[in-house]
Symmetry: C2
Subunit: 194 residues, 2 copies
């Protein structure tokens, strides 16, 4: 069975708690949606922040909405070198022992003690898709990407099942670049681990 999966490429971004939003944009500040993501209810906000690490900083980092319980900053490994820190490869929400960072917004700054990760590559899907495909939440799978001159097979891809999830492979910019992902590139799910 060949399962064709759309690909979404995540550039560095920040999920912030309302407490952090209050500090960096002002008390009671509400994020303003700029564009809606394919996952239901999620949006890229008009707001951006600057991330400041031990070695350097990254400006114009997009804030995602709605606010989350906990701050989570997702960067690529290329970004790590720029900032001068090491972010472990983690699934969203698994933040124990992750490094912190300083966040500058339009109204102030906030030092986060933890929350910087390099997102583990993953596939979002609905429970219906999971049943159809025969995989479970948390299962590691492989996906094949055929592109001009940069074919590869990604292992360590985590299946993430949720009622609001739409079938989509999420890669960071390093991963998408290494696979030569462009407009119209699809991934193929390899359910059997070789």
């Amino acid at each position: 069975m060949n399962i064709r999966i759309p690909i979404a490429v995540s550039a560095r971004h920040a999920h912030l708690s309302q407490a952090t939003i209050d500090q960096v944009f002002g008390a009671g500040y509400q994020l303003r949606p700029r564009s809606w993501l394919s996952q239901t209810g999620q949006f890229a906000a008009q707001e951006t922040v600057t991330l400041v690490g031990p070695k350097g900083q990254l400006r114009n980092v997009r804030v995602m909405g709605p606010p989350r319980e906990r701050d989570q900053i997702e960067i690529s490994r290329t970004d790590e070198f720029e900032l001068g820190l090491e972010a472990p490869v983690r699934v969203s929400g698994d933040l124990a022992g992750t490094p912190g960072i300083t966040v500058h917004g339009s109204a102030g700054s906030c030092i986060l003690n933890t929350g910087v990760i390099s997102a583990r590559r993953h596939i979002h899907m609905s429970p219906q898709d999971a049943t159809r495909i025969g995989v479970q939440d948390g299962q590691p799978v492989r996906v094949r990407i055929d592109s001009e001159g940069r074919d590869l097979v990604f292992g360590d891809v985590t299946v993430r099942v949720g009622p609001d999830f739409r079938l989509e492979l999420h890669l960071d910019t390093d991963e998408a670049n290494a696979a030569g992902v462009g407009k119209g590139t699809y991934a193929e799910l390899l359910v059997t681990e070789a």
Copy 2:
């Protein structure tokens, strides 16, 4: 047969002709070796240049020596976005139809009309290694990299055989990051195409 291959990660760099070196560093200028690469006779020079593209620039780009017949600038896809140009994935020396770029050095500037590529991933090896492994110059192979949370298999890896070549997989920074390559990470050559 498992063949364990050391990995070299190539950051963006510039191979320049002596004519271009004359223009950007001064007439008759000789590159000064800073560190020797594992491939015989090749070195990273003390000299750096700034690359200027339509959208942005990259400073402190390392020049490699010795000088080559033709200018060849190797950048990652992440760099392409920064510079605002598209570099095709090519093997070294295959420069027909590639974009140009402006190079600034300590003594002047030079507009290159062509020569910017995204290096096709490849394995250097000696004729003896090629015979032992059972592959030929130009053959596409696959390599597996097992790393913490970022296992993958790269396809479209070109074998490059030369008497001065030492067994080594060359990846750019995007590719190394996507595979979680760190100190002591090795690649495994998969000779049979699946």
